[in-house]
Symmetry: C2
Subunit: 379 residues, 2 copies
């Protein structure tokens, strides 16, 4: 057992039908016991796991080298579904809040994992917020049901395995030499997503273009611009730089300014910070060209699929994004990727201690495994 795997066993629990803590089990410790085999009830186990980033990661608001993370498992009749809550520090959830949420759940009351709507309605109503923790349960339940049906989720949902998009690879805000080094490192990827909003926007793009003059670029401003006229000027300049779209150019509360920018911009304007769940999709109609769906923010696959349906009905573009995360939640998101326009599902590529193998990037494109459920296996 290497060090990364030992890190699995930092904080763990088993939530049984009584909602009580029954014991401490690390899912990858070699000691995992299925305490529920054949008794027809669902049981939840979980543990925290610190994700180690390959590079210091800088966006408009902060820098960091790790991401807190929770790994969850739902056990049922000898099968295990895997889920994850990846929790960057600029969101309100963390392993402690997730642990408290899991301890409130009584999944043992359900004897049929197929009842996804009923079970996830229950999970959603146990307490407000806790979107990341809810997403981890949602992913584990979908993985479990996929395994019960012996089919990958993309097949169960009627999607074409061949219709997956390329994923972008993210380049954080940094000094010229680091940006150029990261751009070189990203040569296997066909699309780059450049973080802007740090005051050196043109320099960032110019340094990327020195190494990679022709690649498609997405830019993500994380709400870093505040003047709509300057934003429009940048949109025109970025279009000349072969940028495909601009994500969250301005703060989420500058709705009228964003609507004006969207109407006048030569590039699509995609909502990110503005989008959590279904009501945010309704509110983004007429304000943005597209939305960025993230499993952690929207409570998981069930809600993400509904948001896709809404966005398509509104003729909006769809980007799927992610946190830095393991191949667990990234592979879950990738199951939906045949239904979207743009993927930014590189979170597992940014960490050095991924405990799973799942979706692959081959010639820049997401390749879905044939395995059932979310399609991961432990390394």
């Amino acid at each position: 057992m290497n060090k990364n795997r030992r890190d699995f066993i930092k904080k763990a629990g088993v939530i049984a039908s009584s909602s009580a803590m029954l014991g401490t089990i690390g899912c990858d410790s070699g000691k995992n016991v299925n305490i529920n085999k054949g008794d027809g009830k669902m049981k939840l186990t979980f543990h925290s796991y610190e994700l180690k980033l390959k590079h210091v990661f800088t966006i408009a608001k902060n820098s960091r080298t790790t991401t807190p993370d929770m790994q969850v498992q739902i056990h049922y009749n000898g099968l295990t579904g895997y889920g994850e809550a990846a929790m960057p520090p600029y969101y309100p959830e963390n392993p402690d809040s997730a642990t408290k949420f899991y301890q409130k759940l009584d999944l043992g009351q359900f004897n049929d994992p197929f009842q996804i709507e009923k079970i996830l309605d229950y999970v959603d109503n146990v307490e407000e917020g806790n979107h990341f923790a809810k997403a981890s349960i949602d992913i584990a339940l979908h993985d479990l049901v996929g395994k019960m049906m012996r089919q990958p989720l993309y097949k169960i949902w009627g999607y074409d395995q061949e219709a997956t998009p390329c994923t972008s690879f993210t380049i954080g805000i940094d000094k010229p030499d680091v940006v150029q080094e990261k751009t070189r490192e990203a040569l296997p990827y066909r699309v780059l997503k450049i973080k802007l909003g740090g005051g050196n926007d043109k320099e960032m793009i110019e340094n990327v273009r020195k190494v990679s003059p022709d690649k498609d670029l997405y830019v993500d401003v994380n709400g870093g611009w505040t003047d709509k006229y300057e934003a429009l000027d940048m949109a025109h300049w970025l279009k000349d730089q072969k940028v495909v779209f601009i994500e969250q150019p301005m703060p989420r509360n500058q709705i009228d300014d964003v609507a004006w920018l969207t109407e006048n911009s030569p590039l699509p304007i995609v909502a990110d910070e503005s989008i959590h769940r279904i009501p945010d999709v309704l509110a983004s109609k007429g304000v943005y060209t597209g939305i960025n769906i993230k499993l952690m923010k929207c409570t998981g696959l069930r809600e993400a699929r509904k948001m896709i349906t809404l966005a398509r009905a509104f003729d909006m573009k769809i980007l799927m994004g992610c946190m830095t995360a393991t191949s667990c939640s990234i592979s879950a998101a990738a199951q939906l990727s045949p239904a979207i326009d743009w993927a930014d599902l590189d979170g597992n590529l940014l960490i050095s201690n991924d405990p799973y193998e799942g979706v692959k990037v081959v010639d820049g494109r997401l390749v879905l495994p044939d395995r059932p459920g979310i399609g991961i296996r432990k390394l």
Copy 2:
């Protein structure tokens, strides 16, 4: 082979990968040959079937004793998915138009029925319109895929088998003694749907109430009222008669009048004639309280599920309706019924020559069979 079954063989065809007519096969004739076994391609067969109504059926616009119908089958590797297009004469489609549509389809180009989105996008784009014919393909494909996964559709979709609503039983516009007789016949059903708009609205309700004083009633005006003030007066009167909602009170083009009625009515106002596909759901927001989804009008289960997602996001109520039809398309619609508020899925109860057994009505409630796909078996 009884007479009803011989009626199956009125018009039939086999559409293979070449789109050519290969032969004439009645699916219930005892002569059905699976010409595609194990070759990994999908093949479409179909035949017309005249539905015989138990009673002369009268709504605001016409009366009839039969309903034209097409039965379709998709064959793949030894499995068969069943679909249906039930085609009342007041809609623009009929067995001839459906036959022409089926002959344009080349399902043999697809070697994986799981690719529902891709296949049904193709079917939808072959030609505009043909919603009923498209629905029959959609139902057969979903039935086939459910059989491949060995699961009923409601389980694949994550619904609770126990959450099905009661279905209403429809009483057409008729003379007092006939209305009373039909109401007596409908005693096993917990909810009645009364057709109004024939100029004898109060008399209709009063005759129902003579036989069944307490049962919940839905009313369907089929656009028969044109004055919004009279409509509002009727809404108040109907509320006193323990009516639950009013379906399509006014013609679909009187949008402002309907919006006014919805705002002022003490009863929910449900769109029917106004609703076909997804764009109609968008247009009904703020005009109606709820929508009536019918598989035949919306091209089938795939689009119906998306309409349910949209209506829920808009906080709208959902009724599912049907045509007079066999247990094939009624059982398909019933698979969605755990996700809706009100069901009017009695179309199979109104015919005397149903060739299938599927969803049952037990103590007024829809009961979904455990069989895979849409859950039907031939009688």
